[in-house]
């Protein structure tokens, strides 16, 4: 049984935010607009966090940290959901059941990484965004929580294709499977099966540069970062 994970190389990341943009288009993330953005309403399955600038001139450092959902092995969000509207599937991906979510937002407050978002109003897609909607992704109503799904629709399609052809999903196919990885111009992101010791993500996650955010919480995130050199 594969366990999907991601590795993001912070040395290669330029902070261009192509991953964020591609993800939003791929997943039909609703439009927010400048007013709602001011109020803190937009949804970003993937967000590029920027650390403060450290040090004194000329020894300055800053770090861009693209942050998808970490699909933790011990997800605090799944623990607190009163109706199992969020769950961890057999392959380690933490998913949402939009039809069951009652919008209580306990999961959004329980997530220590703030990766969950809420539909404060009915999703809108003003022209020309309504021309770019992806039919493979379910529509969400207002009042439910949503977040990064590791592009599970793409994953399932690729797995179905592989099964039809009577083979396993190869590592090469998996690495750039999610939209964020595919869009990255710096090839800083990798996706794959953490249970397979030969996959790119497994090998990279064993690197001396590898770390995860808030390891001490015991959430066991599936997203590893590679420290800058």
């Amino acid at each position: 049984m594969p366990r999907w994970g991601m590795v993001i190389d912070l040395d290669k990341c330029t902070g261009c935010q192509s991953c964020t943009a591609a993800c939003r288009v791929e997943n039909n993330v609703p439009f927010a607009g400048p007013e709602q953005a001011e109020l803190g309403r937009p949804i970003f399955y993937n967000e590029v966090l920027e650390e403060e600038i450290h040090g004194h001139y000329p020894f300055l450092k800053t770090q861009f940290v693209p942050r998808p959902c970490f699909h933790c092995e011990n997800p605090p969000c799944v623990k607190v959901c009163p109706v199992e509207a969020t769950y961890r599937d057999k392959e380690g991906v933490v998913l949402m059941d939009y039809g069951r979510c009652i919008g209580c937002r306990l999961c959004t407050t329980a997530c220590p990484y703030a990766v969950r978002y809420f539909n404060w109003s009915a999703p809108q897609f003003p022209a020309p965004l309504d021309q770019a909607l992806n039919p493979d992704v379910p529509a969400r109503p207002k009042g439910v929580v949503e977040k990064c799904t590791f592009c599970t629709h793409r994953l399932r399609a690729a797995q179905a294709q592989a099964e039809e052809e009577g083979r396993e999903l190869s590592d090469a196919e998996a690495v750039l499977l999610p939209a964020c990885n595919q869009a990255c111009p710096a090839s800083a992101r990798y996706f794959g099966d953490l249970e397979n010791p030969e996959s790119s993500v497994s090998r990279l996650s064993r690197s001396h540069r590898a770390f995860r955010i808030f390891e001490e919480l015991g959430t066991e995130p599936s997203v590893y970062y590679l420290k800058s050199e």
């Binding site: 709602q36 109020l39 803190g40 309403r41 967000e47 966090l49 920027e50 650390e51 940290v65 942050r67 605090p76 623990k79 607190v80 959901c81 009163p82 109706v83 199992e84 509207a85 069951r100 979510c101 009652i102 919008g103 209580c104 937002r105 306990l106 959004t108 407050t109 329980a110 220590p112 990484y113 703030a114 978002y117 809420f118 539909n119 404060w120 109003s121 009915a122 109503p141 207002k142 009042g143 439910v144 929580v145 955010i213 808030f214 919480l217």
Partner: protein, 436 residues
Amino acid sequence: MQTTQEEILTLLLTPLTRTSLGFIMLVGLLLLIMAGGAAAYVYQFVNGLSVTGMNRPVYWGLYIVNFVFFIGLAHSGTFISAILKLVGAEWRKPLARAAEAITVFSVPFGAGSILIDLGRVERSANVFLFGRFESPLLWDVTSVSLYLFSSIVFFYLSLLPDIARCRDELLDVPRWQHQMYRILALGWKGHPQQYRRLEKVLSGMTVFMSMLVVIVHTVVAFVFSMTVQPGWHTAVMGPFFLVGAVFSGSGAVVVAMALLRRAYHLEDILTHKHFDYMRKLLIALTLVWFYFIVAEHLTTLYGQEVEEMHIFREKFTGAFAIPFWTMFTCCFVIPLVIFLTKGKKSIGWMVVAGLVINVGMWLERYIVIVPTLTRPRLLSGLTTGTYSPTWVEWAITAACFAGLFLLYALFTRFFPIVPIWERSEEIEALLHETQT
């Protein structure tokens, strides 16, 4: 001058037979406020929660503050009638029903605030259909529903003999009012054995309700403390919420006592002595509240954990300094000064203290909930939040308070707010004989 039993009866029962203009105006005003809140809710239901000030990362705001506040307020009744009964404080008797009424009428608005906050309220049945007991929300739903249920039953049973008295003695009331007493009295005959059994059941429920009080407010605290967010994930949260609840509830009881005393001329029943007992109780509660605040913040300050200190700074000197210090003044400084000086002689000042305590406690709920949300654990420029409630949230908050006052006013209009049967000498003698 001792007021006779007869005079007391007249005092307590006469208000039930007529409607004053003041009452009608009050009800009119409260209904107006509630209508405003209802309109605001419809607007919110149609347009989604974007009409509120909530955002990412401040996912919870005024509605959850109200939820915790109203459930906390509800503990007044149980504390006064149940816990004080367990320690044999006889002076609580005249206050018991007034306090229990606060409980019965505020829990629905607490629970209602949660429903108002839901993104998809029409799916709330999912909590029963697909409920997971691992979630603190399920513990909340179970315990708060049980508490509401038990409070209503306890309240009703303690009211039963007095409803029967109204049925029997209030003859010059409208027919529908008499019918109401007749139906609600459930055929109560006043037989000694009925009184004996009633007293037994109320004693048993007292123990049960006392335990429930502890469970309910601790479980409400668990919704926050079971997450790993800084400022929330602390073991002191449960006891802190519980103390706060008893504190705000007791302040509310003082206000209710004074209002009823004035409105229904109960000066000889709710005496200065009762206010003095409440004063002493409230001094103790103020000091315990202070102890918890110091314990929590000193621990945080000494530990200097980065994520905790962000929130600490915002509370003490930053964006939340004004609400924080107002809260501290209203919960500790002003009440203590009043209780040690003016409050000794003046009921008016006690009412001021009671009101100020509740303002402070509402702010305390706000201070517990919102600052942590504005500074989540994974802090970055993008996750730092601010919160400005909108008119929708304020209108609904006002409507909840108006609703509480309305139910209370309606209740006191039709039922005696001070228990009559418990005061009756024959009943007391009867009950004493069963205890020996």
